[in-house]
């Protein structure tokens, strides 16, 4: 016998699940539609949700016909990966070293520097866009990988997170390593980082996502097709063939842009979620 209260509760739960599930399906329509559109014949893109037959012609056009379209898509994927990976690595390495010094060493000016970095976190990026672009022109780095990468080598938030986390690591561990004659960098690499897996993973994931998705800066620096990252190439392609032409190829490009981050997100979901909650507490 189920008692009536339990029954009401179950019905309530059922309705909530129904609403949430319907919402998820609705929310995922753009993903599913993009993916299907990249696989269906052009004439079905606008007319049908479910394709009648699947085709790889759009992917073939994007990858093999890339030169016919004068758009080196495959190369732009590697460009994107290269630029985002170098930037993320620099942010991680410099972030961890700086975070260690600010969090666990005592030196004159430490407080001042830490406050400056906290201040940096809330500064609007728009103020730096134009002058940084002019510096890159002056350094003759326009239209180069270095020009794209040079803007994103450090991240104040990454330093902040490393400082916060390193401070929670017991002092004894650091002292013990010092007694053994370990240098500061050894302590960082052998003691601090291995104990900070979650924060390192989170900084790496969040920054890699942001750098992989970066658009505006790479758009103004990269002028040649051969240098463009995937978002920039896809945008230039979209501007040229705005309407229905090559719609499937565009969806194939968008799918290639989306999938790597989506997979990383599904694999390391908890780090993303933790990071978002932290960002909410910080603000």
């Amino acid at each position: 016998m189920t008692n009536p209260r339990q029954l009401t509760k179950n019905i309530g739960q059922g309705i909530i699940h129904l609403v949430l599930m319907a919402g998820v399906l609705f929310w995922l329509i753009p993903f599913v539609w993009m993916f299907l559109a990249s696989l269906k014949p052009t004439e079905e893109i606008f007319t049908r949700f479910w394709p009648t037959r699947l085709t790889l012609e759009h992917y073939q056009l994007v990858f093999r016909g890339g030169t016919a379209l004068r758009r080196p898509f495959l190369r732009s994927v590697f460009n994107n990966l290269f630029v985002a990976a170098v930037e993320t690595a620099a942010m991680l390495i410099i972030g961890a070293i700086t975070g260690y010094a600010l969090g666990r060493l005592e030196f004159k000016g430490r407080k001042l520097l830490y406050n400056a970095i906290l201040y940096q976190m809330v500064f609007p990026g728009v103020l730096f866009l134009i002058p940084t672009f002019l510096i890159v022109i002056r350094m003759r780095l326009i239209n180069t990988y270095a020009g794209m990468i040079v803007r994103f080598l450090t991240d104040a938030t990454a330093v902040f997170l490393f400082v916060q986390f390193f401070r929670t690591i017991p002092r004894d561990l650091i002292d013990a390593a010092r007694v053994d004659g370990a240098s500061e960098l050894t302590i960082l690499g052998r003691v601090m980082i291995p104990l900070s897996g979650s924060v390192t993973a989170f900084v790496a994931l969040f920054n890699f996502q942001a750098r992989w998705n970066e658009f505006l800066w790479n758009l103004i620096v990269a002028k040649d097709y051969d240098l463009m990252t995937l978002p920039v190439l896809l945008a230039s392609f979209t501007h040229e063939y705005g309407g229905g032409q090559y719609a499937g190829a565009r969806m194939a490009g968008a799918t290639i842009l989306t999938l790597p981050i989506l997979i990383l997100f599904l694999l390391f979901r908890s780090f993303f979620e933790e990071g978002i909650v932290t960002s909410g507490l910080k603000g």
Partner: protein
């Protein structure tokens, strides 16, 4: 005795000095980089705003406040402010109702919570370029959504072609992106409210509606503040969506600040003018954020 103390303090001094140098050495990559690519551009950007310069030519001319006056006299600048306001006034309530609703539902379920969160958060991970390209087709005049709406109601929604609707459509796209993100912030806020408060209120005879307005809303204030601030800053920085979907049109109805700055600086090469515009926009953004914060933020003791 004195000699020993002397050696000890000597040792401490060297230790401290060594530590000073280690600190400087380890922070030097960050500091040097940020002097070159943060402080220097900041100062230079402020100087350029007082010059007329077209980037290509070596000639630069000091023009005083001309750029700022020019920006303030430019109707496009005020149009961008209006566009930002129209985006904000629609985006903010829509995203708050959606994400708060989501968080309240998520708090009530025990099973599948991780699945739902992943489902709603996925949109946040998608690149701006990717979803803009997708929505441009999905919401186009003869796109799939319009096909569905036509079958149901026999109308077509001019999502991106009607000047009164276009910015609202872009706001909807951004709501789609952020519901999971803001929902998680609200969920964390909800979980910080002790359940006993609700139980006590229920015993006192408070109905669900009263509990919502008297307990949930006031005690969620920290989350509300964060989201109001995030959403306000975001409203001033919209670029990728109008750049790819509408190009600022129709009739300038989606011409955001960032789009305007991009066109002036990187298409027309008016670096000084663009810098002045960026500074004025940052000032507006700063003031708007401060006002919003002041209006929303309350002391909450949990």
């Amino acid at each position: 005795m004195a000699a020993i103390a002397g050696t000890a303090s000597q040792a401490r001094l060297t230790q401290e000095r060594r530590s000073n140098w280690t600190g400087y050495l380890l922070t030097s990559p960050y500091v040097i980089y940020n002097v070159i690519f943060w402080i220097y551009p900041f100062i230079w950007g402020s100087i350029i705003a007082f010059q007329r310069w077209n980037i290509i030519s070596p000639e630069r001319e000091f023009v005083g406040l001309d750029n700022f006056i020019g920006v303030l006299k430019n109707p496009q600048f005020w149009n961008a402010l209006l566009v930002t306001f129209r985006f904000w006034i629609f985006f903010l309530p829509a995203v708050i109702i959606a994400s708060l609703g989501l968080a309240m539902l998520l708090r009530r379920v025990d099973r599948f919570r991780a699945f739902y969160i992943a489902g709603y958060l996925a949109s946040y991970t998608m690149a701006g370029v990717a979803y803009s390209v997708v929505f441009r087709l999905l919401l186009s005049g003869n796109g799939l959504i319009n096909t569905w709406i036509w079958q149901l109601f026999h109308v077509r929604v001019p999502w991106f072609t009607n000047p009164r609707i276009a910015i609202i459509s872009i706001a909807l796209v951004v709501v789609w992106k952020f519901i999971g993100y803001y929902g998680l912030i609200f969920l964390a806020g909800l979980q910080a409210i002790p359940r006993e408060l609700y139980e006590a209120a229920a015993i006192d005879g408070a109905r669900a509606w009263a509990r919502f307005w008297r307990i949930t809303i006031p005690l969620l204030n920290p989350s509300f503040t964060v989201i109001f601030v995030f959403a306000t800053i975001l409203s001033f920085g919209i670029f990728t969506e109008p750049f790819l979907i509408t190009g600022g049109g129709p009739l300038g109805s989606t011409q955001t600040f960032m789009l305007l700055i991009y066109q002036k600086t990187f298409e027309n090469l008016e670096a000084g003018y663009g810098s002045a515009m960026a500074i004025l926009m940052a000032a507006f953004s700063f003031v708007a954020t401060a006002i919003v914060r002041k209006a929303i933020e309350r002391e909450v003791a949990l």
